[in-house]
Point group: D2
Chain length 407, copies 4
Amino acid sequence: MKKIKIFNDPIYGFITIQSAIVFKIIEHPYFQRLRRISQMGLSYLVYPGANHTRFHHALGGVYLMQKVIDTLRMKNVKISKSEEEALYIAILLHDIGHGPFSHTLEHSIVKNIQHEEISLHFMEFLNKEFKEKLSLAIQIFKGEYSREFMHQLISSQLDIDRLDYLKRDSFYSGVAEGNINSERLIAMLNVKNENLVIDSKGIYSVEKFIIARRLMYWQVYLHKTSLIAEAILVKILKRAKELTKLGDKLLASEALQYFLKSNIDKNDFDNNRLHLFSKLDDNDIISALKAWCNHKDFVLSSLCKSIINRKLPKVEMQNQKFSKNYFDKIEKTVAQNLSINKEQLQYFVFKGEIKNIAYSSVNERINILYKNGDIADITEASDNLNIQALSKSVIKYFICYPKGLLN
Amino acid sequence: MKKIKIFNDPIYGFITIQSAIVFKIIEHPYFQRLRRISQMGLSYLVYPGANHTRFHHALGGVYLMQKVIDTLRMKNVKISKSEEEALYIAILLHDIGHGPFSHTLEHSIVKNIQHEEISLHFMEFLNKEFKEKLSLAIQIFKGEYSREFMHQLISSQLDIDRLDYLKRDSFYSGVAEGNINSERLIAMLNVKNENLVIDSKGIYSVEKFIIARRLMYWQVYLHKTSLIAEAILVKILKRAKELTKLGDKLLASEALQYFLKSNIDKNDFDNNRLHLFSKLDDNDIISALKAWCNHKDFVLSSLCKSIINRKLPKVEMQNQKFSKNYFDKIEKTVAQNLSINKEQLQYFVFKGEIKNIAYSSVNERINILYKNGDIADITEASDNLNIQALSKSVIKYFICYPKGLLN
Amino acid sequence: MKKIKIFNDPIYGFITIQSAIVFKIIEHPYFQRLRRISQMGLSYLVYPGANHTRFHHALGGVYLMQKVIDTLRMKNVKISKSEEEALYIAILLHDIGHGPFSHTLEHSIVKNIQHEEISLHFMEFLNKEFKEKLSLAIQIFKGEYSREFMHQLISSQLDIDRLDYLKRDSFYSGVAEGNINSERLIAMLNVKNENLVIDSKGIYSVEKFIIARRLMYWQVYLHKTSLIAEAILVKILKRAKELTKLGDKLLASEALQYFLKSNIDKNDFDNNRLHLFSKLDDNDIISALKAWCNHKDFVLSSLCKSIINRKLPKVEMQNQKFSKNYFDKIEKTVAQNLSINKEQLQYFVFKGEIKNIAYSSVNERINILYKNGDIADITEASDNLNIQALSKSVIKYFICYPKGLLN
Amino acid sequence: MKKIKIFNDPIYGFITIQSAIVFKIIEHPYFQRLRRISQMGLSYLVYPGANHTRFHHALGGVYLMQKVIDTLRMKNVKISKSEEEALYIAILLHDIGHGPFSHTLEHSIVKNIQHEEISLHFMEFLNKEFKEKLSLAIQIFKGEYSREFMHQLISSQLDIDRLDYLKRDSFYSGVAEGNINSERLIAMLNVKNENLVIDSKGIYSVEKFIIARRLMYWQVYLHKTSLIAEAILVKILKRAKELTKLGDKLLASEALQYFLKSNIDKNDFDNNRLHLFSKLDDNDIISALKAWCNHKDFVLSSLCKSIINRKLPKVEMQNQKFSKNYFDKIEKTVAQNLSINKEQLQYFVFKGEIKNIAYSSVNERINILYKNGDIADITEASDNLNIQALSKSVIKYFICYPKGLLN
């Protein structure tokens, strides 16, 4: 008799896992670790409800994939049993390569490796452990399987990843405007010439999806407070690595200590490093920050305290670049007030820019399928909304410095 | 001790009425009649959940107005007790002038009178009955009160009417993408120089509101099936009036018979007519349609049956005008098949256009208030989305003819 | 290619109909008529959101039945394609025999016929029209099919009917405490020896379901205001029939007039009467009430006005019978004040009782299936809650008389 | 101008803080620490959505308290500005004394101190820092303020704490049946003779609340998997303390090391210990467990791995005590298989009991207020449901041992 595993989900109700291999992967320590990696990093400092994990997101992906497969089969797209299972595995593992605080620390812990590459490492490792049962999933993940729509379901402008994370992040953060109707969008999915398309009556839903995604970016993901918290977290890791290089043995978990003192990049990332990497999660980082609050290095302890006690610096954000004059003036004031040198100053006063494109037709298009069989990109298909306006990248500039030091 | 009246609302939970006069107006037969007028007319033929009434919408307006007043007072906008009550009354009665099937039959039952004018009639009548206690509400409703934001709350691009009906219609129709975050939008409301403005951090919410509204228009209010059902309903009334004029005494309620044979316009609309008008609701129309299904006039009975049994004609809709040739061809085929003459033909084959502007900065603007006190229209304020694109009116053309007669 | 029909539902999102015959039944005028019969009768006078229809409830039943079939198949219960379709048809049509205002007028329009019997009439009529394709559904509906759980899904203490209407009525009335988790309950369904059972870990959900149902009864279905409105509606029909018998030709739709003057019972209910019955819906009743508000018979017009204008009489409700003295005193006062005779008095002063059993193990049990294969009734299975306490019938007594006549 | 702080909440929408002192307390590091203490401990191992924090729960309490105050004032209960603020502070801080993993480790980190006592320590410390502004809140919290209902709002069978946590835990765990209608319950609150009562029409809501609470206990809080995870966590701390006493310096944060080696009880809990205690949160525990997975002590490392990798032991649960024979047999088998001694065995094979009373009228009653002013305990007031049945304590027995070692 089939064993069925049910997970409760505040969003979808129940997530039912019927595949034995999928369930075994979920039970693997490498996957269980995702229970300890939050989906939205430090956003909980702004949105106190945003404590959901990559574990739950990955399960949500499987749920939506089940809906996709039901829908496509109803529309007479043939999907075999083994393709179905491979799709579940691929979406389950698409983000397994994320380290603690996900995107934020993507380039702080290891160097020049995208999380997708680490995901692939994990998948290949598990493929051996599970006797090559992940091979088709890996093919799909890498975009090497003949049926392109399957890869597009894992990674494209309208993939299952986005359909779940936008809904989930909106739900948990309480930013209800970001809510998308994943179910409706999925009901509109179709396949034409082995490529993913949207039935034409789904145009408004796609538009709404693009707008909601853009809203989530500017209001949540790029919210200036979490933006700055994340910038500081990156600076903390940078400082910790510097101090480590100078011989300081910082309090930290064994795995974190390893990555602080080593400079692992793409070529060094073997199974040993993979295993060490798998020991890292958000707890390692937060525990380290808490310990470092008492470190004698003024830079390190100050930055850590600003995160732990949520005493974040001032951020200004605008559509134009900040003038050099203005920046210099701030630097000078801060340097004097804190009595710090040029090298330390970069940790307290810094600037940056953030960029977002709501819809990019350059990389991958969202294709609309008309009843007569024609296909058009959403920017052409939508006769009402100037989606092209959304295809321009928007840049904002920010500047960050300690609170209270400047008027 | 104050008497408090509580209404359950699936959307807001509870709607609490604390004002005695507001509650008395709700109990008045003129207002109770709104229980029998559906908010979305014939849309329930497409969205089976859309059976909510104008009664509930009006109560919802009062609820949101309470939130607005709380918010504005928190932002130190002074609103007196009597202004507060007047705002509740004004929003409660803003739509009381709607007849059966609301907008659809707005010009079929009486002539050249907007429902707002009839609302005003009702309000003035009730003002006498309630000893001038509605005077300030009437001033606000007419836009004659000195504090302009109060009228703007009743009628503008971002008024309480819209905030409730978009949310309510989206909720009951099950078109979740049309859901707007009324609570959030209200939290962003402010008053500057006695005019309604939106705090600048509410820009994304306003954009989402405009997009959601546009989506609701194209996907729900202008859905081609309800569009055509409504067009047929108008034609039924037209035909019924013609037959009445020819001496046919159609089965209908007393009040409906009166309006079928009279041609009441603005100048004739006295208190007697008001009272007769108040006797009409959706039941009069549907009961008449049911009775007329058996009428000997082929046109009348056919049209009525198409609504009652939901056997609706074919609709084609496109962005360009239909060619005269195409239309002529259809007319010819239908005339032959149904053996009907030119005069009858207009009831079975017809065309039309629908137009919608998502945001119109011509009439009234949505003004954004910046922290430095500056004000800008949303089209200028939004640096990301080309809301100007949404300011263009979009026109679609449709053509309608009996099913199965053409290809 | 299969034609798929999608209905929006605020509760379940989308209801997808894939079966051609199911869709054709939905399109039939006999079924479309359910769009005009509200699920909760006059409850909207208390809960203004409760305007949903039997049409939507029936579709909701099909949706839940789809979930049931998915669940049972996952648990290795074999259900053939034709059984599946029969289950959809049976649940779709289980309530088609309801007339206007459903239960309220069940014995006012026709005599001694349960709505289930009329449903069966409709099903048998449609079975001929659809070439015997409903035969298996009818067998299941009548409880004559060998696999008993199928009938239990249509009619038992935990049937699909209840799972949808409790959820739907709770949702639309806004009485959130009545909300049941249909999805969870369905996930717990199982079949043992061809009988419907609940997996033991579903005990708490069943308990909650019983409690929620009881709450809905006392708080909503038996709410004293809707109770009295319904009692008055019954009295109106009674009075109308009496007046008709006396030769008064009341204003009413043709079909309603027929049933007012005829006394149709089980034996007379042929296809002609079925067809006439199918012409009735809530509009006939409400339109008649509106017309009768001006009838010269004081009793009839008074009662009609009390519904239409929602000026309902006073109700007292208690756990003990009212004393004869008290009732006599009221009768006397009212008779004097309204100057009415004994015969008229019964329309204005009356008493009654209402009874409800939250869980009745006498008729049909809810059986719990343990992991070891044992089965027990829920009252025995639940070691925590005294569900037996819920098996006692609760009786309340009410008395009703005009407002304001008795302080 | 007043500064208003808004928090997003997936449950209530927005939580608005208007009081300056309340906001300052929220910003204090002692309170910020609650962001790192999960509300439901290890329940996320069963319910992956249950990652919400004590921080959010405390804010939710303030939100509900605002609703309570609105309701009571509407019912003419006088509440002064300073009482209002004190109520916010009291509910905000009622749980600040919780350490990591809340209840689970309540007696593992410090000895013989209830978390309420530690909350009081924190409040008194903060009272000094904030210049005695918390004095009234402390009086209310301790039950020493003359108006008893204020303390009852903080701590009683129907307090704000429960109203928020039941709703919140149900929401995040996705166990929808546990959902309570806090808003409705609050609407029913009243005050009689300075004591909290429920208006009689709220009886069904209270019953539903009691049932929902009971369901949450058996289905969520006492779910056997989280129960056992928590039991193991307690054993881990016990083992760690033993090893520490034997001179082993376990890897752990400074604060955790302190509490492992000290035996702090009520008399030792001074401000220094308070401050050290304030350094502890869930990260300290999880990081320690991760480090100890590699510890040489077989017991410690085994237990830690079972939590971190979610390889939990087998649990049997039943309504009767387990026989000594059965327990001995298990012990013997496990001892042989794992080759461990008696002392180690207690960490792998153990039993226990759990007890829950749905409603206890012994400690504190839920009083119902009738319209005539009478008051009755809910068990007497409810004529329908045998709530007395819910007043009996229910005991279940469990036994726990390594998986796979016993058939």
